[in-house]
């Protein structure tokens, strides 16, 4: 989080406002930026994140599309290759399934396949996160897939500050960036300076310092980790919380150094655990901090089940602060 040297109370924005502001600023700065997606204009998306943008930038730059995820992504690739900077809105992260060819076979590869001559500078904004009672096709966190694909970058901010800074970076990046927003965090508030700033990709953020165990977390799970750290503090355990911010580029160094320091690491992510983001992070730490680890690296992804509708079941599928704290305690030999 930013170290605010001002004396005045920092400006607070919700995550939705921060994202909106990032888009508005970039659209003002660069006329080649435009937004395309379903119900993005007057409706401002079902999450209301884009509210007001069509009024400022007009329907030529904030475009309501047919319900054609592959089509709008493909159109975005072509527009990006010819000089524009599209921000394609895929309402729910689950709908990326419809646009995979355009994202993975087209956007991600064109720079390489053309020997560096063409490029596709575009952002695909989408969502992740469960516990919204939206059931199996509207709740997934599929960022592991894109993290796997050379040519793509993947950001998943946890705070309004990070969201704004990373989204501005994403828009300016010359590569396709998949930008994951947690649906349930849109109303979360946090300090966001009024001045212009961007945040670099590939730099994890230590959201809390600690010495006994490292909790590596992404997106929504950063809060779970921070709460778990509070719980652990009550038990006299000092947890360091590292927010990844981008799964690729991956800040291996920060992860490994933190794990070396604490000797223990637990990685937490809202994607399915199996073959998911936690696997990469755990194996990077296990390899990089091998000689410093006092316990195996532990992973906590979402349960490997399609996400159930019933609240009593759904809540079981995602890591909780109590669960993380318990696992961390066990790792520290305090079970």
């Amino acid at each position: 989080m930013p170290e605010l040297v001002q004396e005045v109370a920092p400006r607070e924005l919700t995550m939705a406002q921060a994202i909106n502001e990032a888009l508005a600023e970039e659209m003002r700065r660069d006329p080649s930026v435009f937004i395309i997606g379903e119900d993005v204009a007057e409706a401002g998306t079902p999450f209301k994140v884009l509210k007001g943008l069509v009024e400022e930038f007009g329907p030529e730059r904030v475009i309501d599309s047919p319900i054609s995820e592959a089509g709008i992504t493909g159109l975005g690739v072509g527009a990006a290759m010819t000089g524009l900077r599209p921000v394609v809105d895929l309402m729910f992260g689950d709908f990326v399934t419809l646009a995979m060819d355009q994202m993975v076979n087209q956007a991600a590869k064109i720079h390489y396949m053309s020997g560096g001559k063409l490029k596709a500078p575009m952002v695909i904004r989408t969502t992740l996160g469960a516990t919204r009672r939206s059931a199996a096709q509207h709740s997934q966190s599929l960022h592991a897939w894109f993290s796997h694909v050379p040519g793509l970058k993947v950001a998943l901010p946890a705070t309004p500050y990070d969201a704004k800074g990373l989204l501005k970076t994403a828009i300016r990046d010359d590569n396709p960036v998949v930008f994951f927003e947690d649906k349930l965090m849109y109303q979360k508030k946090g300090p966001v300076p009024a001045e212009e700033y961007t945040l670099p990709f590939g730099v994890a953020d230590v959201k809390r310092e600690g010495s006994d165990i490292t909790l590596v977390a992404t997106s929504s799970m950063v809060y779970v980790a921070l709460e778990a750290a509070e719980l652990l503090a009550r038990d006299g355990l000092s947890a360091e919380v590292v927010d990844l911010r981008t799964t690729f580029p991956l800040d291996k160094e920060t992860l490994i150094e933190s794990a070396k320091k604490t000797g223990r690491a637990l990685v937490i992510d809202e994607g399915y655990e199996r073959y998911g983001v936690t696997a990469e992070l755990a194996s990077v730490i296990a390899e990089g901090a091998f000689y410093h680890l006092d316990a195996p690296v532990k992973r906590m992804g979402a349960m490997d089940v399609p996400i159930p509708f019933s609240p009593v079941l759904e809540d079981l599928t995602v890591a909780t602060s109590a669960g993380v704290a318990a696992a961390a305690k066990a790792l520290c030999g305090r079970a």
Partner: protein, 337 residues
């Protein structure tokens, strides 16, 4: 006709399939059941008793009921995020539906599916689908099975006009036409893709999309169940007889929001428009007026149906509210068959 010129001339019954009073009353009852169910769902939402959201079918009842009335229990349907109406029309019972919407173990899917995934194998409902257009392949595949096994079943794929934005529809309509599969693509044009007017997202006509694949296409007033039923009956018979798929556009309107939380709608459609549809094109009064006007039915029959449904829905929702949640261990059940 222009897309918004969906008028109903109650007097004109020419060309309608003739059915007995009992069947008309059954259709009325099914529409009333959907209406009452959905009004109750809205109440559950407003009183914070239902988890998540739901997309109400109010206003579109004549489509689901008119089409399903032309089907047997063995026939298949696939449905959408706005699927309660299809589910009821195909024969599901409202108590287990409410239980599903409330995430209870007694629900059709043991609470795991919820509003957007209700399925009921017993009545041939292969499931609602939260991916717009996502069930088009499933319906086509069900028709494929029927043809391959010579079962004589027909599959109906319900979808909103917005689903024609999805490439999948075209891929499977091509195959259905090529292979003469017994499938009926029922496009419910309620004029909006969520919060966007469909003309803004749709070039050309809806039916033309099917005709491009040499598929027979028809268009009816979706508020007039007599027309819907007549057309569906003919097209289902055609499909069952081996004459291939068809596309049926039903012009309709959702009276409520896109989902229960969509309260302020004036930024995308006028109150006037809503009023016109509600007051002049409500499928229930339209059928009732016709039945009464014809002297086929009398008011007491209608009253009785409505009373019974009121009681049924009250009992059904109570059943659901009292039903237990699934056990925690169920969370890892049914991942694999």
């Amino acid at each position: 006709m222009a897309d918004s010129e969906v008028k109903l001339s109650v007097a004109d019954a020419a060309g309608l399939t003739e059915v007995g009073l009992e069947q008309w009353l059954h259709m009325y009852e099914q529409m009333a059941r959907i209406r009452a169910f959905e009004e109750q769902v809205n109440q559950l939402y407003l009183s914070a008793k239902m988890p998540g959201l739901a997309h109400l079918y109010i206003g579109q009842e004549a489509v689901a009921v008119g089409v399903c009335e032309a089907l047997t229990r063995n026939d298949y349907i696939t449905s959408t995020h706005r699927g309660h109406g299809h589910c009821i029309a195909k024969g599901a019972s409202t108590d287990r539906m409410f239980a599903e919407l409330l995430g209870r173990a007694a629900g059709y899917c043991r609470g795991k599916g919820g509003s957007m995934h209700i399925a009921d194998q017993e009545t041939g409902n292969l499931g609602a689908n939260a991916i717009v257009g996502g069930s088009a392949g499933i319906a086509t595949g069900a028709a494929f099975t029927s043809k391959r096994l010579g079962e004589g079943r027909v599959a109906v794929c319900f979808f909103g006009e917005g689903a024609l934005g999805q490439g999948l529809l075209y891929e499977v309509m091509n195959m259905a036409s090529l292979w003469k599969l017994p499938v009926l693509y029922v496009c419910e044009n309620n004029l909006y893709n969520e919060y966007t007017r469909y003309e803004e997202t749709t070039a050309g006509t809806l039916g033309g999309r099917a005709q491009a694949f040499n598929m027979h296409a028809e268009r009816v007033n979706g508020q007039d169940i007599r027309q819907v039923y007549t057309a569906a009956n003919r097209l289902v018979g055609r499909a069952r007889g081996g004459n291939g798929p068809a596309f049926l556009q039903c012009d309709t309107y959702r009276f409520m929001g896109h989902h229960v939380g969509d309260i302020d709608r004036t930024y995308y459609r006028t109150k006037d428009e809503e009023r016109t549809w509600r007051e002049e094109r409500d499928p229930l009064p339209l059928l009732k007026t016709w039945l009464l006007g014809q002297g086929q039915a009398d008011q007491s029959m209608i009253d009785q149906i409505e009373r019974e449904i009121r009681d049924e829905i009250a009992a059904a929702v109570q059943f659901a509210l009292d039903a237990p949640y699934p056990d925690a261990h169920e969370v890892t059940q049914h991942v694999y068959a």
